[in-house]
């Protein structure tokens, strides 16, 4: 079937139509929910539309570059990214209590966003160069590659992004076929490391978030407020929801951060379990399409990059919905392609651009 597609206009444009349609579907949902969550603020809508357009353009642009190009540039970009992360810690701009930004004068810039793409590319290029499954030595080197930016980002502190960056690297390693025993050892090691993390590495506010997650009702008007109101919004939506723009939790301001991290609660309140089923189906479709593209990849690098990016996309979905519905502690991870916000949206779409690149540059390689 794929071969038949090779001559289509989409293939020539280096665009994967099913993926594009899935993404456009999510974008439509985003605009619909945002119109309601933002209180019919047309400025907000306009900014989001501009971002989506810019994101789509970025995606199409990224799709034009071949996987070889990405493999060549993986290392330099990764190194620049690490350097910028160090720079952020040293001279970065403090915003919202964390040092995440570099002020380029005309533009506030988050180096950790680069890392979301640089990480899977770097790990994939490093591991993909060797024969697979990777040897113990290469696995450890890969782990070091993963850990360096992860810790730098966690130090900012930006737990959500460091999680996503680490996940993208780990997924590449996993897909490369790391020994299951080794995975078992790593999981056991991480569990053992958890108390150290808790007592020595976590910030107070992060610990508070975890505690709040474990028992939000302990401080219903303070730290537990977000999660309680979010669960009320979701739960009161019921099977069919309260209807578009009828969500009382969101329309009457009970739900905080309702157009950004907690937009899923607005969606759930207004469209109910039926809407959720549709949304999750769309996500599953995109993930499956991504993994399919990955499995069709011609080189190990392509496969690993595509697979890692797709699974990272899934982590976004899982962590965001998990935290909004009370399954996970609150970490700042947006609902991919739905939440209002520019940077992560563009990064995500750039990732999909790489996926499309993997899927549409095969003939060049085959030749």
């Amino acid at each position: 079937m794929e071969r038949h597609q090779e001559n289509t206009i989409w293939y020539k444009l280096h665009i994967d139509l099913p993926l594009l349609l899935g993404i456009l579907g999510l974008m439509c949902i985003s605009l619909i929910v945002l119109y309601s969550a933002g209180g019919q603020d047309m400025d907000l809508m306009f900014r989001q539309i501009v971002r989506l357009g810019f994101g789509l353009a970025t995606m199409i642009f990224m799709a034009q570059l071949s996987p070889n190009f990405y493999a060549r540039w993986a290392m330099p970009v990764f190194l620049v990214g690490v350097a910028l992360l160090v720079a952020v810690l040293l001279f970065g701009h403090v915003g919202k209590g964390a040092q995440r930004w570099i002020n380029l004068g005309f533009f506030m810039f988050q180096p950790s966003e680069i890392m979301k793409l640089a990480m899977p590319l770097m790990v994939a290029s490093y591991i993909g160069n060797k024969s697979l499954p990777p040897s113990l030595k290469h696995t450890f080197v890969a782990c070091a590659i993963i850990l360096t930016p992860t810790l730098l980002i966690a130090k900012q502190p930006d737990l959500g992004t460091s999680l996503l960056v680490a996940a993208s690297g780990i997924f590449a390693l996993f897909l490369a076929g790391v020994n299951w025993k080794l995975i078992g050892v790593a999981v056991a090691g991480a569990s053992a490391f958890a108390p150290v993390l808790w007592f020595f590495l976590m910030h107070n506010y992060q610990r508070q978030r975890v505690l709040t997650f474990l028992n939000p009702e302990s401080d219903p008007l303070g730290s537990g407020y977000h999660i309680i109101q979010s669960k009320i919004a979701i739960g009161s939506g019921g099977i069919f929801g309260k209807g578009w723009m009828q969500g009382t939790q969101s329309q009457l301001d009970f739900l905080p951060e309702r157009h950004t991290d907690f937009i899923f609660a607005v969606f759930s309140e207004e469209f109910g379990l039926v809407g959720i089923a549709l949304l999750l189906s769309l996500y599953i479709f995109i993930i499956c399409r991504g993994l399919f593209i990955a499995s069709q990849g011609q080189s190990a690098f392509s496969r690993l990059t595509a697979g890692a990016l797709t699974l990272t996309f899934f982590v976004y979905v899982f962590v965001n919905i998990g935290m909004v519905s009370g399954l996970l502690p609150v970490v700042g991870v947006p609902l991919p392609l739905i939440s209002y916000g520019g940077t992560s949206m563009v990064t995500l779409l750039a990732g999909f651009g790489i996926l499309m690149s993997v899927h549409t540059h095969k003939r060049l390689l085959a030749n």
Binding site: P133, F171, T248, D253, L273, F314
Partner: protein, 650 residues
């Protein structure tokens, strides 16, 4: 990319390994999404009711809505207490940055004095948080306009509209209607005890005195509520449901405003009381306590200066003299004393005694004087009442004794609450051995008994008690209960409140009633009667009895000379009367403090009241006859009030 490196690798194996890992990943992804979905299912389906309730709790506030207070009318439908919209200037303290500055500026803008400002700070201390405090209770139109122009400068200061009680007839009905005032700490405690806090959630004022207090529950009504949708800052977005309050019931009093006004005019600011009740059902047509004050002062919170003035005034306007004034009944009870003697058999209608001008307890030297120093000579019971012979009754009570007297008089209502429907009432004192023991821890002496015979000594009565006792007499033993409430307005008509009655007074011989009533008739109609001048040429036949109560005890030989006594030591003028004689319709009791003789100072008031009553009745009958609108009689001449006085009768 290094071609030789790729050539060495087993691409199909690597690819297969990758696909296996992808399959594992897909399983993993689907498993985790299932977990998410199950959790969402749990939230939205299993726990739907819980979260729906919590969501509604968030957004829905229930606000109580105060009912409009019921109106009060007189028996002819004249409005006595109404609700008027007023505008108050209220400050929400929590919204103001610099309160003192704001208050100072507003005071200057609106021309407030220091009293208003002090009052505001006083109230502020008592107010709950986030509840506005009134700076000005009643804005004038100019003040409201001035503030409105400058409103933008004062965030957190608002004009609020309320319905406030207003008493259009001012001090005419103060003691009867009472007034409403702001619910205070004491009221809150009482409401909590009665479990009515919720009923008053939106109400600001509560009946404090008189009818307003007694019929509070009826007048207040049932609050409604509105369910409003609020946002997270408590701002009302929209009203979801409105259950209107059930307004308080409108009530009609037995009071006849024209009679009430007449009585007030007759007293003309003198200390005293006039009560007129319907002899048949006890309906209170007029009940005046003088001097009075404007109840509207209390509705808006009286200033401490005004309050202190009222509180410390020599004439004690705050007291309802009609129900709380304790006066020696003096000779006004001589009919009842006669009945007692007849009933006990110590006298007969034919019994005559010799009155030399004084009376002595046998075998003692203590002399009790008659008001007529030279004595009445031979007197029977009729003459004794007509001329108010004291000696006759000294002898009578000497023979009956205090125990029987006390028990008999209690049947007429002395020493007990009349049952009038206001809370401000005293029982006054019908003395007895037990009472004196409890009050003074002293035994009862025979000397105590004798002055009781002429309504003096320890005996005190309220004007409403005197009216009641006289009505019971006029109705020959039927015991009526004075009542202010006439009827309650219902949806399409009104519910007439049935009169209250107590157990009747039964005498050994029914004919005794006629003896006492004939004596009373003589007082105003016979040429020897003490009040004949006051009741000369009436168009109706009345019966009455004067009383002149000594306020200070006088020595045996002392001559009463009003001019030589300080005003507050002068005698109280009393008069009780009913009319018409054959078929009693109305009873009146009049007390004018320190005015002097009852016949000369109280009887003319009673006469004028009757004149007004019968003139009004005639006008009403004529109006009915010619189907004309009813006009209150205003042209009753006051000539009798100015009639030359006769000698003090006692």
């Amino acid at each position: 990319m290094n071609q030789s490196n790729i050539a060495m690798r087993d691409h199909s194996a690597e690819s297969a390994l990758f696909v296996r890992r992808v399959v594992v990943s897909i399983v993993f992804v689907l498993a985790l999404i299932s977990v998410l979905f199950l959790n969402l299912y749990y939230l939205q389906v299993e726990s739907f009711q819980v979260y729906k309730t919590r969501s509604n709790d968030n957004r829905i506030n229930v606000l109580p809505v105060a009912p409009n207070r019921g109106l009060i009318y007189d028996r002819n439908g004249v409005l006595l207490a109404e609700n008027r919209p007023i505008f108050s200037l209220e400050i929400t303290i929590e919204k103001i940055d610099d309160l003192d500055k704001t208050v100072t500026e507003l005071a200057e803008l609106l021309g407030l004095d220091q009293d208003d400002i002090d009052n505001f700070y006083k109230q502020k201390k008592r107010q709950r948080r986030f509840k506005p405090v009134a700076l000005v209770n009643r804005l004038t139109t100019e003040q409201a306009a001035l503030f409105s122009v400058n409103q933008h400068k004062y965030h957190g200061v608002n004009i609020e509209a309320y319905l406030k009680r207003y008493y259009p007839h001012g001090d005419t009905l103060t003691h009867t209607l009472g007034y409403v005032g702001k619910i205070n700490d004491k009221d809150v405690i009482r409401l909590e005890k009665e479990g009515k806090t919720a009923t008053y959630a939106a109400t600001r004022d509560i009946g404090k005195q008189g009818v307003e207090r007694y019929y509070e529950e009826m007048l207040h009504g049932v609050p409604g509520y509105q369910e409003v949708e609020v946002n997270n800052r408590g701002k009302i977005i929209r009203v979801l449901k409105f259950v209107p309050p059930e307004p308080g019931k409108d009530i009609y009093l037995n009071i006849d405003l024209a009679m009430q006004r007449k009585a007030q005019k007759l007293l003309d600011g003198r200390r005293g009381s006039v009560v007129m009740i319907d002899a048949k059902d006890g309906g209170v047509l007029a009940m005046v306590s003088s001097p009075s004050y404007d109840p509207n002062l209390f509705v808006h919170g009286i200033s401490s200066k005004n309050y202190n003035e009222l509180l410390h005034s020599f004439s004690r306007p705050l007291i309802n003299r009609a129900t709380q004034g304790r006066y020696p009944p003096a000779s006004t009870i001589k009919m009842q004393m006669s009945l007692l003697g007849l009933n006990e058999g110590t006298i007969t209608p034919q019994t005559k005694i010799w009155d030399p001008g004084s009376w002595q307890i046998p075998n003692t030297s203590k002399r009790f004087r008659d008001w007529k120093r030279w004595g009445h000579g031979w007197v029977d019971v009729y003459h004794a009442i007509e001329q108010s012979c004291d000696t006759f009754f000294y002898d009578l009570i000497y023979q009956v004794g205090i125990d029987k007297t006390s028990a008999f008089m209690k049947q007429f209502g002395f020493g007990d609450y009349t049952g009038i429907d206001i809370a401000e009432e005293t029982t006054a004192v019908m003395p007895s051995r037990g009472w004196k023991r409890a009050r003074f821890n002293q035994p009862w002496y025979q000397g105590d008994t004798i002055s009781i015979g002429i309504g003096q000594g320890y005996w005190t009565a309220t004007p409403i008690q005197l009216a009641q006792a006289t009505a019971n007499l006029a109705r020959r033993g039927e015991v009526i209960v004075p009542r202010l409430l006439k009827s309650i307005r219902t949806g399409n008509g009104s519910f007439e409140v049935p009169p209250d009655r107590k157990a009747p007074i039964v005498l050994n011989n029914e004919s005794y009633w006629q003896v006492a009533l004939d004596g009373m008739y003589g007082v105003v109609n016979k040429k020897t009667g003490t009040a004949r001048k006051a009741f000369a040429d009436t168009e109706y036949k009345a019966a009455g009895k004067s009383g002149t109560a000594q306020v200070v005890n006088m020595k045996e030989d002392e001559v009463y000379d009003a001019d030589k006594l300080a005003e507050h030591h002068r005698d109280n003028a009393m008069f009780v009367a009913y009319a018409p004689f054959e078929n009693p319709e109305v009873v009146t009791s009049v007390v004018v403090e320190n005015a002097g003789g009852g016949s000369s100072h109280a009887a003319p008031v009673a006469r004028a009241m009757f004149d007004a009553y019968f003139a009004g009745k005639k006008a009403a009958d004529e109006a009915k006859l010619f189907n004309l609108p009813l006009v209150a009689p205003q042209s009753i001449d006051n000539a009798n009030l100015l009639a030359p006085t006769e000698a003090g009768a006692q």
